[in-house]
């Protein structure tokens, strides 16, 4: 009774919140979930879920991949409930599910697909049944909030010890692949991989984790690195790294944005290796549920600051989110692979949601190819300027503005192609300012 009452209250609240948000032109985020959790901490256990529950977790690429899976499911004519705005902690997930359930707590959908913050996987799925978990990667991210990467992996490993559902793992990330051995009884472990692409390297270009075998501490031997510590590796002692692949993406062609998987040719809109990995995960989910992915990936648009390409008064502008060194390195790779002259705007904040510690910017590889000007902005604009100047980029071509309006104004003084990279809380204000410049 109390459970239904909570839902009823939540629905009423949500009704008014919607109106209020429309007036204020603001997103209400996970407010509803926060209130509901206060009223009824066990609400998730009460929900009646009959359909498959799919979850995506990773350091990078959760939102893109989750949206991609949702898109595939919808294109196959099914109804899906998903936290598509990226509210991925417990309260965000409560918000999504409460909005989509009946007063009796039943969720009417063919699938639920959720992106879940790494540290919330054990918490959320203690309360709701999980059928498929997709793990993409583990990188350094907001170390001051999450603790070291290792403790995060251990949390998920611990959860997996008693998990028998489908587990889809990126075999090219040793931090992820190791999870396949958390529960030796689980027969539903699926690995995916992406074949060596043209810009893979023999030496590691960017800071990464996972240099040692998690089982016997032997140094891992890499045949090549795709990016960061993602690549083809093996432990010479125990053969960790060698598995039977469920999904293997081949013939990656970033220029023409195509690749092959299991003799199917995919035309997509992905121009970076990192998105190809996200797609490999999404394709694996599709294969498990017998859904067609080819058509969906052809039209799946990457947006909302995640590899977004726009035109501002005829000036080509690429906007990318980078919350950690790996995210930034991938964006800079795309920038460097573009031969044209360009200018870079890097916006860095240190709000609690970003992580107060900005030292991760020193793990970014700042070799810049044909960049004629760099502008830094955000609360930590000067830290960023120092970082870029120390990498050898001419300090006279760097401008720093803590104010984003000034930064964007200066950016569009020239007509050179723009690359914009912003971290978490910086992204939307940066986008808004750029769009208002139109």
């Amino acid at each position: 009774m109390y459970n239904s009452l909570t839902i009823l209250i939540a629905k009423v609240l949500n009704f008014f919140a919607k109106i209020l948000c429309k007036i204020l032109k603001k997103d209400n985020g996970n407010m509803l979930g926060r209130i509901v959790k206060k009223l009824n901490p066990n609400i998730l256990e009460y929900l009646k879920i009959d359909c498959p529950v799919i979850a995506v977790t990773a350091t990078n690429g959760k939102t893109t991949t989750n949206n991609c899976i949702r898109y595939i499911i919808e294109n196959n004519g099914k109804k899906v409930v998903s936290n598509k705005e990226g509210n991925n902690m417990e309260t965000g997930i409560i918000t999504t599910l409460i909005k989509n359930c009946t007063i009796s707590g039943k969720i009417k959908a063919d699938y639920i697909c959720l992106e879940v913050d790494e540290s919330y996987v054990p918490i959320v799925f203690k309360k709701i049944r999980l059928d498929t978990l997709l793990v993409l990667n583990f990188f350094r991210d907001q170390l001051d909030r999450n603790g070291e990467v290792e403790s995060l992996i251990l949390k998920i490993e611990n959860f997996l010890k008693t998990y028998n559902g489908n587990l889809i793992l990126n075999n090219d990330d040793p931090n992820v692949a190791r999870l396949g051995q958390a529960n030796k009884e689980n027969k539903n472990v699926y690995y995916f991989s992406v074949e060596k692409y043209e810009n893979a390297s023999i030496k590691q270009k960017e800071a990464g984790e996972g240099k040692f075998c998690p089982f016997d501490k032997t140094k891992l031997e890499y045949e090549y690195y795709q990016y960061s510590h993602v690549g083809k590796y093996i432990c010479p002692t125990c053969n960790f790294g060698k598995v039977e692949l469920f999904t293997e993406i081949k013939n990656v062609d970033l220029e023409n944005m195509t690749f092959d998987e299991n003799e199917i040719h995919y035309n997509t809109q992905a121009n970076n290796i990192y998105t190809i990995y996200n797609f490999a995960g999404a394709i694996s989910v599709a294969k498990i549920y017998n859904l067609d992915a080819k058509k969906s990936l052809e039209t799946f648009k990457l947006n909302n600051g995640r590899s977004e390409e726009i035109s501002i008064n005829g000036i080509k502008t690429f906007i990318n989110l980078a919350k950690n060194p790996t995210g930034a390195n991938v964006s800079l790779r795309t920038l460097n692979e573009d031969k044209d002259e360009k200018e870079l705007l890097f916006v860095l904040n240190d709000n609690p949601a970003d992580g107060l510690d900005v030292s991760w910017i020193w793990d970014i590889n700042f070799e810049l190819n044909n960049v004629s000007r760099v502008i830094t902005s955000g609360k930590r604009a000067y830290d960023m300027a120092i970082r870029i100047k120390t990498s050898g980029f001419d300090e006279n071509k760097i401008e720093a503005y803590t104010n984003i309006d000034e930064a964007v104004k200066s950016l569009y003084k020239t007509e050179v192609k723009k690359y914009v990279i912003a971290n978490y809380t910086a992204l939307q204000p940066t986008r808004r300012t750029i769009f208002s410049n139109k």
Partner: protein, 258 residues
């Protein structure tokens, strides 16, 4: 870069040799940035910085042959592996410190140079016992000293504020000569008044950020110290354009130390 390498006065180019310890293991929080800053500030002044790396499995280095030894912070399980390795060089390291080689030790490396590190489960990682401080992890695993930190330090003749970021569970005790007095943040222990360990040729600290990026005075102290020791002459470093550094410091000190 090539242009900087040529010595304008035509004399033999000055050269500083740095040993970077365990780059593949001790490299949390962009600690390598400290070396990049040193290199940048040396090259701007026509000094060449040679960086040698040492890690497990490499040929044993002679610490006395270097001007600077640098080591950073690492994840806990990696710290155990390398403590075993580093202890083999204990006498050589002691020798190098006595001879005046500069040691810059951040976070995990700072702890390793003390007597020991006692983990949450009571496990003890032996240190090099070069200095007589020791570190014990706080029992509550969720409690760590995390956040921006500002300390007041006197280095050489200069008094300066040092800005950084700390993130450590370990509480370091028995420090007689701290690196600085805490103005904002925690320091060696929770809500401590002191931070780090300092002697003329050793800076051991919890500050990353990385340390030298926001504190050019410290970077220049190290460079000057090494030049004077190696070339046996008073050296005046020419001023560099530190506009970004100064603005950065001003902004951060204003926001933390209101």
């Amino acid at each position: 870069m090539g242009a900087h390498l040529a010595n304008k006065r035509g004399g033999r180019m000055k050269e500083i040799k740095l040993l970077y310890l365990y780059p593949d293991m001790l490299e949390l929080y962009g600690d390598y940035g400290n070396i990049q800053v040193l290199k940048y500030r040396m090259e701007k002044r026509g000094i060449n910085l040679i960086i040698d790396k040492y890690s497990i499995g490499d040929k044993a280095p002679d610490f006395c042959l270097y001007d600077i030894v640098f080591a950073g912070g690492g994840a806990d399980n990696e710290q155990t592996i390398l403590s075993e390795d580093l202890i083999r060089y204990k006498d050589n390291i002691k020798d190098a410190i006595n001879k005046g080689v500069f040691f810059l030790l951040i976070c995990g490396a700072y702890q390793l140079f003390g007597k020991y590190y006692k983990g949450v489960e009571g496990n003890v990682i032996p240190g090099l016992e070069i200095f007589d401080y020791y570190t014990e992890a706080i029992e509550d695993r969720t409690k760590r000293c995390i956040g921006n930190i500002v300390i007041n330090t006197k280095i050489g003749e200069t008094e300066t504020k040092v800005i950084g970021f700390e993130n450590h569970g370990g509480q370091t005790y028995n420090i007689k000569t701290p690196f600085g007095k805490v103005i904002y943040g925690n320091g060696n222990k929770f809500e401590d008044s002191e931070e780090g360990f300092f002697k003329k040729n050793v800076i051991a600290t919890y500050l990353h950020g990385p340390l030298l990026s926001k504190n050019p005075v410290i970077a220049d102290y190290i460079i000057k110290y090494c030049l004077e020791r190696k070339y046996n002459e008073k050296s005046m470093l020419n001023e560099l354009d530190d506009t970004f550094e100064n603005k950065c410091r001003e902004q951060l000190i204003n926001s933390f130390c209101k």
